[in-house]
């Protein structure tokens, strides 16, 4: 693998994770927060493929990435289900409305 390719992929990884964290910080909607989490996970997937390639075991890196996709889907489903419940119960998706417990 070209050295430059590795650096490019690394930059994409950092970019995706960075955009994800930024989305988490500024979003005013639960759906966007979930999208931000998904973006971070996509960056991490790429990191695993890259790690597999660098350490000379492409198969392992890719199979780890596949496993992460499966687990992450489950988390996303649970998160979206909760977002639906929040919308029905609170009438909004804004996380700032979730303040019944603050004191």
């Amino acid at each position: 693998m070209d050295y430059l390719d590795g650096v490019t992929i690394l930059l994409v990884v950092l970019g995706l994770v960075g955009i994800g964290i930024y989305t988490l910080m500024i979003s005013r909607s639960l759906i966007k927060i979930i999208i931000g989490m998904q973006l971070m996970v996509k960056g991490v997937l790429l990191a695993f493929v890259l790690a597999g390639r660098i350490s000379g075991n492409m198969g392992l890196g890719q199979s780890l990435a596949l496993t992460i996709i499966v687990v992450d889907t489950i988390v996303a489903v649970v998160a979206l289900a909760m977002a639906v419940r929040v919308r029905r119960r609170f009438g909004t998706l804004d996380p700032r409305a979730l303040t019944t417990l603050r004191r």
């Binding site: 989490m37 790690a51 350490s55 998160a79 909760m82 303040t99």
Partner: protein, 501 residues
């Protein structure tokens, strides 16, 4: 049955039991009956697991641990795995016994015990994994089952809010863990914990980043102080049995997973130890100060969990930083006694909550004013709550004193300024914590019964039984703390890496 069969059974039983309990309760609900079998199936599964664990304990060659191959995944059973499994199964059995009548009125009753078994099974697996990725998989399975259990009352606003907060923070933490794993894998070329440890004699800057990401990611679950904000909401809003499990084993499972990952990067173990000591000091102080100003009992207990994690961190940190197996074993002992005491406290509060609030089909939280004079109508629930609280405060003939004492002894025998200062802080914090435990006991016994107590319904006997069992355990460990020594010492040795050879 030999040791290998026993540990495979230990892993498989909860996952066989989970669908069974769901089917049993679901079918009963379909027929319009009261679901009853799920609870007893779950209890039978947990007792069988306990039997498997005892078979393993008596047949395994101590110190080395046992390797088990499941498919191509190697699991390593050492002292830490056994300690975590024992804690989880014991507390899980008590919670199972308790929860049947607690949840009798709930619509989602059929999902409760199968999710509980899933959680218990994944924590047992987490303790035994010897592979970073595997560790993350078990950790995530545990997290998903707890998300669903925290948001167990979906019609309650508070429960949803706690669930969302917990899910978002915990999911971000797990992404950070994944990032750290990918960094470690890039440099080490392997995911085996002992393989990674053997690979590095010194950490480069990328691996330091990985280590810090491990601390943050697992620290969210282990409630290290700036990352603890999900904890009071989740603990206070979950059903009481789940609060007991969250506080008693789930945060400790996060701690164990963090230790495993950090010991893979063990070349810097002294620095990790000092870092954990620092977090221990902050956790104790802030947890206690925040607990002092709470009015809802479950929230108060949740903040006291933050403080108690501080003691474990202090013991473990001193153990790692100065190579003190005694302090490390003390931390492990406190992990176990805290599970008993905090589990008992949450279950006893749960019994009162059931009698005073839930059985009137309400969902308001239980405040300090509500439990005034509860001892007159609920003598056993109040007595066990008092035992749990005084044990957590560290009064002598109870288990909490013994485990804190061992941490203090370990810290003082390290004979460095930092460890001695930390231990003095820990001692002072124990006194501070009595500032909120003792008033609850005072209210239970010396106040006039409140209105809520006078209107309360009786507590079913089956809810009292697990309370009595747990308080018996606390008393026995208080008088004979050496009972747990072999397991604690073995766990400490496995953390320090001495148990592997």
């Amino acid at each position: 049955m030999d040791a290998n069969m026993a540990v495979i059974g230990l892993l498989a039983l909860p996952f066989i039991g989970a669908p069974l309990t769901y089917l049993a309760d679901r079918l009963a609900l379909r027929r319009g009956d009261q679901p009853r079998f799920g609870q007893w199936i779950a209890l039978a599964i947990l007792l069988l697991s306990l039997y498997c664990l005892s078979v393993f304990w008596f047949s395994s060659p101590l110190q080395q641990g046992t390797w088990v191959l499941v498919g191509s995944v190697a699991l390593h059973w050492d002292g830490l795995s056994v300690l975590l499994a024992l804690t989880t199964i014991l507390l899980g059995s008590a919670v199972t016994l308790f929860s049947g009548s607690y949840l009798a009125e709930e619509k989602a009753h059929d999902k409760y015990f199968s999710l509980l078994l899933l959680m218990i099974g994944s924590i047992i697996g987490l303790g035994a994994s010897n592979d970073l990725f595997n560790l993350w998989l078990w950790f995530e399975l545990m997290a998903v089952s707890t998300y669903l259990l925290v948001a167990f009352y979906p019609q309650e606003k508070g429960s949803l809010e706690a669930g969302v907060k917990y899910l978002v923070q915990s999911a971000v933490g797990s992404v950070l863990i994944l990032l750290a794993i990918s960094i470690t894998y890039t440099y080490a070329g392997t995911l085996q914990l002992d393989g990674i440890r053997a690979r590095f004699s010194d950490l480069n800057s990328a691996l330091w980043v990985a280590g810090v990401l491990f601390v943050i990611g697992f620290g969210i679950k282990a409630a290290l102080v700036p990352l603890h904000t999900w904890l009071p909401d989740a603990h206070a809003q979950a059903p009481s049995g789940i609060s007991a499990m969250l506080s008693g084993v789930v945060i400790e499972a996060g701690l164990v997973a963090m230790l495993r990952a950090l010991m893979a990067l063990g070349a810097a173990e002294i620095h990790w130890g000092i870092l954990l000591m620092g977090f221990g000091a902050i956790n104790m102080l802030l947890g206690n100060l925040l607990a002092l100003r709470q009015h809802q009992i479950k929230r108060l207990l949740a903040f006291s969990s933050v403080a108690q994690v501080g003691y474990m961190l202090a013991g473990i940190g001193v153990g790692l930083a100065y190579q003190q197996p005694v302090a490390l074993a003390g931390g492990m002992f406190h992990l176990f006694t805290h599970a008993l005491m905090k589990g008992l406290a949450f279950l006893a509060v749960g019994a009162l909550l059931y009698a005073l609030v839930l059985s009137h089909r309400q969902h308001t939280p239980l405040t300090l004013e509500d439990v005034c004079g509860a001892a007159q109508r609920y003598p056993l629930a109040s007595l066990t709550l008092a035992i749990a609280l005084l044990g957590l405060g560290g009064l002598p003939p109870l288990a909490g004193f013994m485990s804190k004492w061992q941490i203090l002894v370990g810290g003082f025998s390290a004979q460095t300024d930092a460890s001695v200062a930390l231990m003095i802080l820990a001692g002072l914090n124990s006194v501070l914590s009595l500032g909120y435990y003792a008033p609850i006991v005072n209210r239970l016994y010396r106040h006039q019964p409140s209105e809520a107590v006078l209107r309360g319904n009786p507590v079913p006997n089956v809810m009292i039984l697990p309370l009595l069992i747990l308080s018996l355990g606390i008393l026995v460990l208080g008088f004979v703390p050496s009972l747990m020594n072999p397991i604690n010492d073995w766990a400490a040795l496995s953390v320090l890496g001495l148990g592997m050879h």
